[in-house]
Symmetry: C2
Subunit: 404 residues, 2 copies
């Protein structure tokens, strides 16, 4: 008889964002008159920039003529897009990354989940705590995390790197040696980040202990302060130890468009084995590329007009972030993030769990946020709000919170 | 030190379609004056139907307004598309499949590669020989196939089901018990298929030995004969043992658009564990859905106008298939398929390998096809041609072959 992958059975019930969606749907059904404000999942609200819309229309038209129709694309993405990425995200910052090191995908979520496949099951992972849950969940599915303790909310074989106000959300080098280190910077959910010097310490550490860093830079476009690296490849020696994941979702409003990319430097080798070649094999075999019209839209992001429009969107959301941060502080709460990231990490009252607070906020202020515990054990006692709502709703939400 | 997944190192060098692409590029560079005809990879040449183009434009416009903009979609696909699939592909054939059993994806290649993740590594797979290489390759990457013998071109732990003219390309039930059985019908590359009665034998067998069938129905739209099932769920008892994979690539010209879906019946259980729930967890965690505009295009495929236009395209390609089949037979060759599938399986002369024939055909007739060995050991001695070229090129190719 066939057997299932029983690592799946070890996962705690329900993926956090699915659970939230269900709870909110149920609340709305019972309270059809209430205006619910969504500051929960990291979904954006502003429409696509006009330059991207125009490009999408052009690309759709190309698909309607035999001379310009596109079938299967090149396996790692169209050259025009990989080239725009190299120029726009790397060469412009003085970073030497080549087109052969760029792999276009349908989004950072897929790549963050799939990248672990090229590594042995016998590797120990380290993750920031709290952090976006996909790194742990996908390693758990692969059998790399040991057992889950439903009381402590911890996996037995994961090295947790606590990020709290006590250490200014800067993870310390762990005592136990990890093999694979996931860093999400700017961090989801805390909105915190590392300076270039702080990140360099991690790069040096990884090179010293021969670990690999999976660097998730999904929120890079939201960095506003100087000396915060936009790419891990700003650090010396990083091409020998780091894979970088990037997304168009949050930088260009592509959550419903689906596009991202992964950088695997040619210099990154495990003994004599090139990780670039392994990922190329995985990508080429299991994936057939992002749609041509979506890749065209991605290239439009790097045009002069595209850049200007997109900058305006980022500013729009960051204005919301400032509004939330200020509003929470005026209401007497501690709150973090919101300066280099579209997330605000809200310290909630001590006598209530983050899930209890979720229901409290939904029922009393009709606001949807994300319980901190969904991001790891150190997330308990916190609540994540996003800056991706409309300005009007964000303003309204802060008024409601003030009145609580 | 971190370790790689060394199952990757067992894979034979180079994915067949990547190798072909490189060889053809090199030939073209050396022979810029030669007109090369591509009947190699299964890529289509006809532009998208007008109804689909119109829908894409509409959906792009929606993305440009705040009121109609779409961010993250529902995790298993938009209800409008899942509903259209249920009605168009199942209820219309008297098959009772529910919306909750449909998972929308970016294409059958991803699903065919990812589906093995929900099963234990300790399962033995059976595959038709020859067949589309992704089933074996992705199971090899997961460590389920033992070792590869570079002489026999066989994996030690795979059960091969020979499909040759001797058995009319109908795989026989194997002596050794498989846990997971991959069936691709109509078959890529042989173009052969099973009658409903023949498929029912496999469903009964799977239920009897408690195996699961992964049924790849990518070419279902090309079935022209009666009594050939369009879905495995036409067979009794199949919902207890089968997962079905479907694609829009070959039915609606979506190779560059990227859309597919997987059906996991709720009745499909391994002991008390629902495979529908396992796949939901995999899909919800590692994937963020197909783009909204692409899902709208998918729904347009099921409209009255969409259906009519698409039927014309399928007929166009099947006319090419007839042309190739007739041409090869007139030239004195044996050839198979081409009646219920867009592939023609060409028996090549005995004294030449299929890779040698690839170069011979490229150099002497400037035609690109696919060496049979790329699909499994029983593929040696054969060559695959596709019907996806233009009519004019197909005609030209047959003239060239006649003159060889």
């Amino acid at each position: 008889m066939y057997k299932i992958n029983d690592n799946y059975l070890k996962l705690p019930e329900g993926y956090i964002f699915s659970t939230i969606a269900k709870q909110v749907a149920s609340f709305k059904e019972k309270n059809p008159d209430k205006k619910v404000i969504h500051l929960g999942i990291g979904d954006i609200t502003q429409p696509l920039a006009q330059n991207i819309i125009n490009t999408l229309h052009e690309a759709v038209d190309e698909m309607s003529h035999i001379e310009t129709f596109k079938g299967y694309g090149p396996e790692f993405g169209y050259e025009f897009l990989r080239d725009a990425i190299v120029k726009g995200d790397y060469k412009s910052r003085g970073i030497d990354i080549s087109v052969e090191e760029i792999f276009v995908s349908d989004g950072i979520n897929s790549d963050a989940g799939n990248i672990q496949e090229i590594f042995s099951v016998d590797n120990k992972i380290a993750v920031c705590d709290p952090v976006y849950p996909v790194y742990i969940d996908t390693n758990a599915m692969a059998g790399r995390t040991g057992n889950y303790n439903r009381i402590t909310k911890r996996w037995s074989d994961v090295i947790y790197l606590p990020c709290t106000p006590d250490n200014d959300f800067v993870p310390e080098l762990p005592k136990e040696r990890p093999d694979i280190i996931y860093l999400c910077l700017p961090n989801n959910p805390t909105g915190s980040t590392l300076t270039k010097e702080q990140l360099q310490l991690w790069v040096d550490y990884a090179n010293r202990i021969e670990a690999v860093i999976i660097y998730d830079a999904a929120y890079e476009a939201y960095i506003s302060e100087d000396n915060i690296p936009h790419s891990i490849y700003e650090c010396e020696g990083s091409k020998n130890c780091a894979i970088e994941l990037k997304s168009f979702s949050k930088s260009a409003g592509f959550t419903g468009v689906r596009l991202g990319y992964t950088v695997v430097p040619k210099a990154l080798k495990c003994g004599s084995v090139s990780l670039n070649a392994l990922w190329a094999r995985r990508h080429g075999t299991k994936y057939n590329g992002a749609p041509y019209i979506i890749q065209r839209a991605g290239a439009a992001v790097y045009s002069k007009e595209g850049r200007e429009e997109i900058k305006k969107q980022v500013n729009y959301y960051m204005n919301n972030a400032r509004l939330i941060l200020k509003g929470l502080k005026l209401a007497g709460y501690s709150a973090y993030g919101g300066v280099n990231a579209p997330y605000i990490w809200w310290k909630i009252p001590k006598n209530i769990t983050s899930w209890e607070f979720f229901y409290y906020l939904l029922e009393n202020a009709n606001i949807v946020g994300t319980p901190g515990i969904g991001f790891g054990p150190q997330g308990e006692g916190y609540f994540r709000l996003t800056a991706f709502g409309t300005y009007e709703n964000t303003l309204d939400a802060m008024e409601r919170i003030k009145k609580l």
